[in-house]
């Protein structure tokens, strides 16, 4: 790493203020408009706050409650919400990477109609949440849904049958989010040198070998980027399960809290931090902060691992 950096060290050193000049616009907007809400969020996690009244300092009570008090509904919400979220990330992210990657690789062959096809595969990403969910609720409707009709499943209930509710949710999420990663891969693949590809093609390498040995390594950085951002994005999953089945079927009831099959942490956070009643922004902020820490730790781990792989 060090040696590499030295090799790339600029030949003519620039003035010290130059990096600052490039960073200034971002640091300025970040400090003015992003830092305050974030820090207030951290502060709020140490208070009892109902939005209607001034926050009251409670120290670490929210965290203690969340982490150690099984009598509290929030304790169970955090546990189950986090468990479901992690489950979702683990099962969804591979598809969020592989599906668009497959599309991008196939489209890069410049097959007939690849421009139209690209538009088709990208289109769902332009939709807003409500239209995505309304459409898919009709698709997965147990009574008259197209999915059941096409697959001949009769009155199969996608929204309340484990693990099919997960399959449906992951499918919807991949469908909706496919375009973003697709376009990143496409632009990266197009940057791969055609000459090298052709040279290997003449050497007798087939499409699969070319893909594994040349295309994929050349798009390593965008690939890493999408893995990290997809993980982050899926940790924040919320709208899809909320509109799909409100958190799904009850699996068990513990201490008066119903454990729902696919209710995510973000749903619990939004429920108690925001909304028409019973707002408990302090607890919501604590949960959000715990989630944020986990996301950050996971991203750092991924980044470290990738860096090691790059060197």
């Amino acid at each position: 790493m060090k040696a590499k950096l030295a090799a790339h060290r600029p030949l003519r050193p620039y003035a010290r203020w130059i990096p600052l000049a490039f960073l200034a616009p971002h640091l300025l907007v970040f400090c003015c408009f992003n830092i305050f809400p974030i820090l207030t969020g951290i502060f709020a996690s140490l208070t009892k706050w109902t939005l209607g009244e001034m926050p009251q300092w409670v120290g670490l009570a929210n965290y203690a409650n969340l982490l150690t008090n099984p009598e509290s509904i929030y304790y169970w919400q955090l546990r189950w919400g986090l468990l479901n979220t992690v489950k979702f990330v683990v099962f969804c992210v591979p598809f969020r990477i592989l599906v668009p990657l497959a599309f991008a690789l196939v489209l890069s062959s410049k097959c007939r109609g690849h421009k139209v096809l690209q538009a088709c595969y990208y289109l769902p990403s332009l939709l807003s949440l409500s239209v995505v969910m309304v459409s898919w609720l009709y698709m997965f409707d147990s009574n008259a849904g197209i999915v059941n009709t096409l697959l001949g499943l009769g009155k199969f209930r996608w929204t309340t049958t484990e693990p099919y509710n997960w399959i449906a949710l992951i499918f919807i999420t991949v469908w909706w989010g496919c375009g973003g990663n697709l376009i990143i891969y496409q632009s990266a693949i197009a940057g791969v040198s055609q000459e090298i590809l052709e040279a290997t093609s003449v050497d007798g390498a087939n499409a699969f070998q070319r893909c594994i040995h040349i295309t994929l390594p050349s798009i390593k950085f965008p690939l890493q980027y999408t893995i990290i951002t997809s993980v982050i994005a899926e940790f924040g999953i919320w709208g899809q399960p909320d509109m799909f089945n409100g958190g799904g079927p009850t699996l068990e009831v513990v201490n008066g809290v119903n454990h729902q099959s696919n209710k995510m942490l973000m749903q619990y956070i939004a429920e108690s931090g925001f909304g028409s009643s019973g707002v408990n922004a302090g607890v919501a902020s604590s949960m959000a902060l715990i989630l944020g820490l986990i996301i950050f730790a996971v991203s750092m781990l991924q980044f470290r691992a990738m860096r090691r792989g790059n060197d």
Binding site: K48, T50, L51, G52, E53, S72, I73, Y74, D141, S142, N143, K155, R157, T159, T160, G246, G247, P249, T250, L251, V253, N255, G256, V257, N258, E271, S272, F274, G275, S276, S277, G278, V279, N280, V283
Partner: protein
Amino acid sequence: MKKLLTMLLTIAMLAALAVPAMAEEPVSIEMWTLFTGDDGTTMQAIVDAYNASQDRVTLTHVAVDRENLYTKLALAMSDEAALPEVFVTYSYDVPNFVGLGYIQPVEDLLAAYPDFDFAIDKYHDACATLNYYDGTRYCVSLDFPTWGMYVNTALAEQYCPEVLEDNSVTWDEIMAVGASLQEQGVEDVSVMAGSWDRNDLLNSYLDLAGTYASEDGTTLELNKDAVVEALNTWKTAFDAGYLWEEGEDPMSMFALEECIFVTGGTWNMNAINEYGFDFTFIAPPQFSADDTPTLFGASHAFMLPTRSYTEDESYAVASFMHYFYEHSIDWAQAGSIVASKATAESEEYQAMPQAFVAENYSISNPNFTYSQILFDVLDGLDWEAVYGRMTPEEYADAWQTQAQERINAQ
């Protein structure tokens, strides 16, 4: 000399500006409501007509979706400039809003304009309780969005003509009709579909228990036995196959004439009108045939946020509330049970389906500071106990526990 001249000129100019301004200064006020969609359009039309009838006052109607309205109010409370002059939410929010200091009594404002006459006896009887908190009047009702049951008249005549004779349906009758439909081998018609777990269960619960709060309305007192009994009743009918199947859309069933009854709110009336068959609107199934059914219903009501008002602003608010009272018939077209007695007595209103409900049943909801929390928790629990994924006892405990902890956090 020059200075003096300038000063004189300035004073003259200011005076010239001030004189006409004092005579006919235009007043503009803002009203936030939770009326979106069709209701929003109807309200906008009334506001437009009101504005056309006024030469000084301009009222701006701001529709805010229900979920956002509470947050927006909470946020605006810190900054008077962001507050509207008047807003519309549910009467059951009053105790909570008073406690938080969001709203002020309406009495002073109403008393200041005796010509408009806001006497409580000019309003629907339910207003005498719903508009008051601790003996003080805090809101002025527009209408009563209430929970009830729609009846497909033709199907009811075919399958259960005797049930409707007393204008109310009991659970025993529901079961009997269900059994007789199954005996006759009728497969494509169910007895009843419940379209909203929250209101259906609340209505059944209140029918049994009467209230969910202590007398002073500050503590939660859920009657667990009543919750279990209500759930068991629904579950028995559901398991017997008299109701809908999980996954079926109740309103679709009704539109397709696949059920005789569907529970629904007054706000569904416009849509049901379009289905193109005769229907009536009655009380949901009762546990006993003896007493007059009490419908679970709140009231949409005008409230005044805690802020200062100029003379003109309070006049404008009062004059619109009066205008709405006088023109409630336009509001009733959307299915609403209006608060205005003047409108309720008109022939046009008497011909509307909701007039029957307004006359035959009483409308109420328990006085409780945290009603909204209770409703939201129930909303989250869905039909899980009826579908058999929770026992009724677990359901009752979950409702109690979750509502109580959220209340404690307030």
